[in-house]
Symmetry: C2
Subunit: 189 residues, 2 copies
DNA sequence: CATAAAAGTTGTCCTATGTCAACGTTTTAT
DNA sequence: ATAAAACGTTGACATAGGACAACTTTTATG
């Protein structure tokens, strides 16, 4: 049950089995079906999820009612609506499983308790933030001046998992192009 | 000399004057002219800058040789080429002052020393990352499905300083639109 | 397994925005 | 103070990609 998480942590820092166990004890297992909403728009984010298996998507609705995908987290990654989680304002996005998933869930209180009391966990949080920040930047900057073809090449290079596991419609909205355009571009390589 | 920085820190956490003084002792004052390059493309980022006065810009060159502005930091903010600073790979961007500036500079070693030894400073770093992450996300998500007019309205709402202090050319590249389009859009409000 | 619903593909058409160029204005350097 | 360079604005034109629709294929559900 905690294998994936334990490996994740052991991979990042030296840690005693007992500390590891203590960390894990704050996480509880959740089984979610495909398409379950974990967090609604305007709800305050109170949980952090670690994905044992499956995939979580972050998305919003545009004014025209179209879903815009923001982020996809796969097995072995953490995901939540971070802005809301941090400052406890209503989230301006949804969290949803896009396939049958197995999640480890920790409450915000528990999470910050671990951050404050276990240095290794604090370090992990810092790394999550650093990586998230770098990723977000790459996504902005990687896209500056890109046309549709460039964007698709980019996604193939840096997030090939997306094209394999996620519907075209979602990938298209993630890239900020229309499904038709994505379809056309893919047929040109 | 350290006033702006001291206020920045005091604003974030309770701190003893002595600790504050110790933190400050790691920063040295730099005077930079307009347009000075603080970090070159492919150089490894070894310093973090705190802006006492003036403005720093992060940018890259596209394949066509056009400058793409990534980020602007004003008085009272920290700035560096973070991805390179974190993992010590060659930066894929430039750091530059865009006006006569007064900067407080801390070495990477000093910075991480403070992060590791002074909890208040560690907290500040976490906050920098959290804020940076949230900002980057807002910028991505805020722009999804935006046309030129929406983008300009967005910048007016969330970063009005940019339009006041920064050239149209730079703002345009920051928004991912051409200077002509920015000019046209502005004339429509 | 059958039917319905959703997603993907492809065509036609249209619009927002990029490119390029000309011109005027502001800024910078000497 | 003056020349030179960079920037901003505006027009004419070209084009990537969005919208919509018809059709096909895949996926979900009873």
């Amino acid at each position: 049950m905690y294998e994936v998480l334990e490996n994740f942590i052991k991979n990042k820092s030296e840690i005693k089995p007992k500390t590891l166990q203590e960390i894990c004890s704050f996480f509880s297992l959740i089984h979610a079906e495909r398409g379950e909403i974990l967090l609604n728009y305007d709800e305050v984010s109170k949980h952090y999820y670690f994905i044992n298996k499956g995939c979580i998507r972050l998305f919003t609705n545009s004014k025209e009612g179209i879903e815009n995908s923001r982020y996809f987290a796969f097995e072995g990654n953490f995901a939540t609506a971070l802005p809301s989680f941090i400052d406890q304002q209503p989230a301006k996005e949804y969290l949803q499983t896009i396939e049958k998933s197995e999640l480890l869930c920790i409450s915000r209180t528990g999470f910050y308790h671990l951050v404050d009391t276990i240095p290794q966990f604090s370090k992990i949080y810092t790394e999550i933030l650093e990586l998230g920040f770098i990723m977000a930047q790459k996504r902005i900057y990687g896209f500056q001046g890109f046309d549709a073809l460039d964007k698709v090449r980019w996604i193939i290079k840096y997030q090939p998992k997306l094209l394999l596991n996620v519907s075209n419609k979602m990938v298209a909205s993630y890239l900020g192009i229309s499904p038709s355009t994505l379809s056309r571009v893919k047929s040109k390589l």
